[in-house]
Symmetry: C2
Subunit: 470 residues, 2 copies
């Protein structure tokens, strides 16, 4: 199976059938990709589309075609599949909706296309899904998806999460090897894609979003096999009874009981997450940080109250906030006044924020043998924020944080809750991102990501982490 | 006690001793307040400060003084207290630090001032705290604090949280009757302030941040008494062992065991929260929404996958996501296409977002008898975001949401995760805020706030909610 899927993820030639502005807004990104004259457009209505020749049908293309993307209305799809069989196409991705999710007539159509495809050994992705994102092969499914590859793979039953994951926005710092959104899964389904990405050398971290599957046993085995090789994060939609009902409306999936899924994930050795944000929080830290070799974090903030509450948050998310060694406290005392600060960890170091010796303070803390990682909360009252936290200050701080992270090979992550001042939070986010550090909206989220990262380190070792290797 | 504290929160005249740029940056806000010529500044170094006459000492002020704010170095404070006693001052807030939190010499000073004050019946707030915010009385402790009052009171052991709560930023939509930051609590402590705000007619919702207290039994009784009259949200810092250690460094508090505090909160009938953000999330919804009469939410988003996962989040936060009644589904079918949507709740209504009939869809859902409240997630892929979600579109949507909320007397809250696009998220936030609707960074946070609001409704009824009454 993986060999067969390799041909699908890296097709030598691709045709888009039903190329039009309405049905395939994303052709523009494919056109910018590396397919070049191995991409063919099909639409009997046009001579050309977006400056490229349009063929009346698949069979008119004077070259072999490996992979076909179909965006025509559902009722035309069987005809297209017949052409695919004649043309010797290896796989067809049916983007079109209007199949089993839309009622009995759609379900009949779905059975028909499956029968036609099986007769000609054409594999189907979809219908009613976004298909494949594989920038290396020139395959894209949304406007503005990045052309750069990364070490993360994503098998998603939801088209939206598939698009969001590579969105040209804040999340796009996450770079993907492959993303697949497989919709109604009449033929290829989650277990097939998980098996393929388990073996894919380009994929170091595997994400899975699943609502349900008709092939539960196979999915379990595919996940277990994948998790034996690389970290697998699984977001299961429809864990609660109300959510399961929603899943059944969405993809017609039988979501099953929460207990069964949880037991299955435990036995398969995957890491369950509870939200898309939690999943992407891990991706961000995985890509940008060295592994935390333990779960002992140093927490630093401008305030005693904040540091107390955020210490609780770290512990609740599975980390520890130990006291520093004596030598560390001695060194901190040399450069910090006693009043208004706490030097034991968490660091409550208002004066260091204001005087600009913060990088030095963090460096001493991070060098402590009791510390495996650091969360720095960058948040201040309006008065000092404007006075102290200029772009220059933040750039200097970000640069030092990045340097320390690489020198000590310990993750340094930033928390920056937007509640007090969105403009400021966004500025902080932009600058730290520029210097390659992950920024979170809360210490709680940062701590959870570090906790997952530590689990990944324990099971897969330092070598799985891409930092400095990609 | 409450009568005595009334005089402290509403002093007839106030003096600031040690008025200077360094020690009391916040005098500017007090100067803008309503104290007028009932505010006196004291500093032997200046003839005047910020355009106002400076007296060499308290005793030189030719008028009675009720309330004194002290910002001098710690060693001078005993002398000031002696003057307070002679002058017949009712209360003194000692902003200065350098007392028991700073070592043995500070602790000795602290004992000295307490003895002096008790001899003259002067009550002390602090030392080492921000003191009182009471805009009605002209008392402020940070630059840019709002002059408008609101129905929320806050007793905070942390100065930072006290400042953050009224910060002139995103959180300032929360309006407060009184905020007190009481620092080392040598005299007046949490139980005193909780008792006062329990009786305060201007305070409908009471927030408490506490790390520890020397008067645990009294605090319990004060909280129980307060909770019998109005909702009380309590954030306890130092619940975990590491957090408790941090608390002991911060305020010298014995944080005690998590089990004991949790049992205490249960018996007192207060609502425990786990973070400052969670507390402020409740404040936002409490101020802007009618009460949810039940916990059945209608969830609406642009995507099936999102709606499934967010339904799980709602249920995990204590809400239910029931199916609509038949009549609702019939009405929705009349205006929405079947393909690509789910009409049963959660609403997965991509076409409604794009075509602009979203307000009508939400209106039908909100009018359903099975629905007590609504969470609308405003999030879209970049392509449609730019094409569809113009400011005009968002304003129209926000206005309709506000109208519906008031017409049906059911809360409508917005979720808008910033991950995809911070600029867009901020725009959404600004516009919905302008129309008086609470905006959250995730459905999880919105759902938790609604869950707390429902608990408040069950115990205190509709009358406690300020919407339309303030």
């Amino acid at each position: 199976m993986p060999a067969e899927l390799e041909e699908i993820f890296y097709p030598k030639s691709v045709a888009v059938v039903g190329a039009s502005a309405e049905t395939l807004g994303y052709i523009s990104t494919i056109l910018e990709g590396k397919l070049g004259d191995r991409l063919f457009l099909v639409n009997p209505k046009y001579q050309e589309f977006m400056g490229k020749k349009c063929y009346p049908s698949l069979l008119d293309i004077p070259h072999p075609v490996d992979y076909v993307i179909v965006g025509t209305p559902a009722r035309v799809v069987p005809e297209v599949i017949r052409d695919c069989v004649k043309k010797g196409v290896k796989a067809v991705h049916i983007y079109s909706s209007g199949f089993s999710e839309a009622g009995e007539e759609g379900a009949r159509l779905e059975r028909e296309i499956l029968e036609l495809a099986r007769g000609g050994r054409v594999r189907i992705i979809g219908p009613n899904g976004m298909g494949i994102y594989c920038p290396e092969a020139g395959l894209f499914f949304a406007n503005g998806q990045p052309h750069e590859s990364g070490p993360v793979g994503f098998v998603s039953q939801s088209g939206t999460f598939a698009i969001y994951s590579t969105a040209a926005g804040e999340l796009a710092e996450a770079r993907f090897s492959k993303v697949v959104s497989y919709g109604n899964a009449v033929d290829l389904d989650a277990p097939d894609f998980v098996r393929y990405l388990a073996e894919d050398q380009k994929t170091r971290l595997l994400l899975v979003y699943v609502e349900g599957t008709r092939r539960g046993r196979e999915l379990f085995e595919a996940l277990r096999e994948a998790a034996s090789r690389k970290p697998v994060l699984v977001l299961k939609g429809g864990m609660t009874p109300d959510g399961a009902r929603a899943a059944s409306s969405h993809t017609g999936s039988l979501a099953g009981s929460q207990q069964i899924w949880e037991a299955m994930f435990r036995q398969a050795g995957v890491i369950p997450v509870r939200s898309f944000e939690e999943m992407m929080d891990v991706v961000r830290a995985f890509l940008l940080c060295p592994p935390p070799r333990g779960k002992r974090v140093s927490m630093a903030s401008v305030s005693g109250g904040v540091s107390v509450v955020e210490t609780d948050a770290c512990v609740e998310m599975g980390l520890q906030v130990p006291t520093f060694g004596e030598e560390t406290i001695r060194r901190l005392k040399e450069i910090l006044p006693a009043a208004g600060t706490s030097l034991k960890n968490p660091l409550d170091v208002w004066p260091a924020f204001v005087s600009g010796i913060l990088p030095e303070v963090l460096r001493i803390a991070l060098s402590d043998d009791n510390v495996d990682c650091m969360i720095l909360e960058v948040q201040m009252g309006a008065y000092y924020r404007e006075l102290v936290m200029t772009d220059e200050y933040l750039r200097g701080l970000a640069e030092k944080c990045r340097e320390m992270q690489l020198e000590f090979r310990k993750p340094v992550v930033i928390s920056n809750p937007p509640e007090l001042d969105w403009e400021f939070a966004h500025r902080v986010r932009r600058i730290f991102k520029e210097y390659g550090l992950p920024v979170y909206e809360s210490v709680r989220r940062a701590a959870k990501a570090l906790h997952h990262l530590h689990r990944i380190f324990l099971k897969y070792g330092e070598e799985i982490f891409p930092l400095g290797r990609f």
